[in-house]
Amino acid sequence: MVAVAPPEHRIAGDRDHLGRAACLGLLLLLVFFALLSLGQGPSGVSAPQVLADWLAGREVATVDQVVMLNIRLPRLLTGMLVGASLAVSGAVMQGLFRNPLADPGLLGVSSGASLGAIASIVLGGLLPPAIAGIFGWYLVPVAAFAGSWIAMVVLYGIATRHGRTSVATMLLAGIALAAMIAAVAGLIIYYANDAQLRDLTFWGLGSLAGSSWTKLSAAAPIILLSLAAMPMLARGLNGLALGEATAAHVGIRVQRTKAIAILATAGATGASVAVSGGIGFVGIVVPHLLRLVIGPDHRWLLINSALLGATVLIAADIISRLVVAPAELPIGIITAMFGGPFFMWVLLSNRRVLDA
């Protein structure tokens, strides 16, 4: 159990106990939805049954084993990693830009990742076999990471001058960036052959349906490395909330914090887009909800964003498989359906800041 200090020892305004309680609660919720997700699917294999048989040492039918291990488990793990990545990327970007509206999907960072992925699918064949051989399955996630990193660096360079970020410049630069990237991506797709177009279509659906151990093992190292860097950022982002000058005064290495934040966001977003296509709004909804409950302290916000992001994406994936069962909807449709109105609400409640 996580110890929660008795109220008389706390001081008002200290929300550490909420952060801790949220961690615990979200962990339980994540486990619950993970089990639900494992039990969900058109084949009708029952997760509790398989698990019980397994633990009891009984023989598990080969079909059940294949369904569990090769279809549902990689899909679940991919969903968890992608959800955690998108939510934490959102939280880190918001901290870096000091603005609750920053999001990889909105500001062209995901588009940069898509461009990288599209370019690697279409133009990857042009690489000398020796180089393509080195990257192998990693080519798509690495290219997506490079694309989102470049987009992130350009965006930050345009939107932030002398340590200050203008909201209007940030949003407009993001829109312009996304449009330019879409144009280049369109140009590349124009030159794609039929086989490549088929690959692109499947990839671009924004879905976890194509999850496999191969794809997961290509993206997971980049995602896990990026997520592992996030705790190093918590105190730095807290300091940055008071402005760059004050952050430096309280002992933050500002340039290093920004460089790690940009790299980690690009890595997590890029690799997620590479395996799942475009899944929007998780990065804006999850951190915003959490800030309302546990406050903006990044020591708790980042870890809780990872947990809630993973949970939300798994839940959305379950819904996407239920509404038109036995077929399924691309998960991006579900997240956009819930996330779009939510984003509107965030916009309206931030009007004062935006109109300034």
Binding site: I11, R98, A241, L242, T246, V250, G295
Partner: protein, 262 residues
């Protein structure tokens, strides 16, 4: 032990702002930087904090070159109250103060005690649970001061005296809190710490400063004990209007705009 600037030249953009400023601030004293608008007071303070790199010249803190100190090390030796602070997320007052402890390894119990004590010192004992963005300008300024104070809580540490660098610490405050804050700064210096404050109010400077640097057009036009700098001639020349110093009953000086000859 002191904080020294030697021949500081600072260029902002393409505009030279400081033209070779020297300053020696001693620990145990309250040093005030005064001067008219645009004379380079804030720029000088920003150079003293390490925020601005001088084009020429150097700043040493307790004998060490400031440019060579790591941010964490520096943060444990000096704290800064900026003139303006923006905050981007809804932090509570307690959480803001906690940010002042980033460079310190202190446990929750210590942190809570420090936060309580610092808020009491700036006369906001019941405000730890309030949202920073919902406070008045003066209250926000005192929260920021508490955040800086907590960072260098003991005026003297293992590495010598600690420093408080304050940019117009009383600019948004009512008269009672102006006195609270100036006394706090003065007591910090009396306890062995160093205080450098950019001051707008010459009467408060006269009351509290031990040492004054008078800035004029990016240069130090005078530096010395308070009574040697706050003189009719020096102030009138620097501020470009006729000012008369009066002597208060007891010791000390004061001046009012009405003292100026119209």
């Amino acid at each position: 032990m002191n904080l020294t600037a030697r021949n500081l030249h600072v260029i902002l953009g393409s505009h030279p702002v400081l033209h070779g400023v020297d300053l020696t601030a001693m620990a145990g004293r309250l040093t005030a930087i005064i001067g008219p608008n645009g004379s380079g007071k804030t720029t000088l303070l920003r150079a003293l904090t390490g925020e601005l790199r001088p084009a020429v010249g150097s700043v040493t803190l307790n004998g060490q070159d400031m440019a060579r100190l790591q941010p964490e090390t520096l943060a444990r030796r000096r704290a800064v109250l900026p003139q303006q602070s923006a905050l981007s997320f809804p932090f509570t007052v307690a959480e803001i103060l906690r940010i002042g402890l980033i460079a310190h390894a202190c446990d929750d119990v210590e942190a809570r005690a420090l936060i309580r004590a610092a808020l009491a010192k700036v006369d906001l004992p019941e405000h730890s649970g309030r949202f920073y963005q919902e406070l008045s300008g003066g209250e926000q300024q005192r929260v920021q001061l508490a955040r800086a104070l907590i960072q260098v809580w003991q005026p003297v540490g293992d590495q010598g005296p600690r420093w408080l660098l304050l940019d117009e610490p009383v600019s948004s405050l009512d008269i009672a809190h102006q006195l609270t804050v100036m006394r706090l700064a003065k007591n910090y210096a009396r306890a062995g710490g160093g205080v450098i404050a950019v001051m707008h109010d010459l009467n408060l400077t006269a009351m509290f400063a031990d040492h004054v640097l008078l800035m004029q057009q990016g240069r130090a036009s005078a530096e010395g004990p308070t009574e040697t700098v706050l003189t009719d001639r020096l102030l009138s020349q620097a501020y470009g209007c006729d000012l008369r110093i009066r002597h208060a009953p007891g010791d000390g000086v004061w001046l009012l705009p009405q003292g100026a000859v119209v």
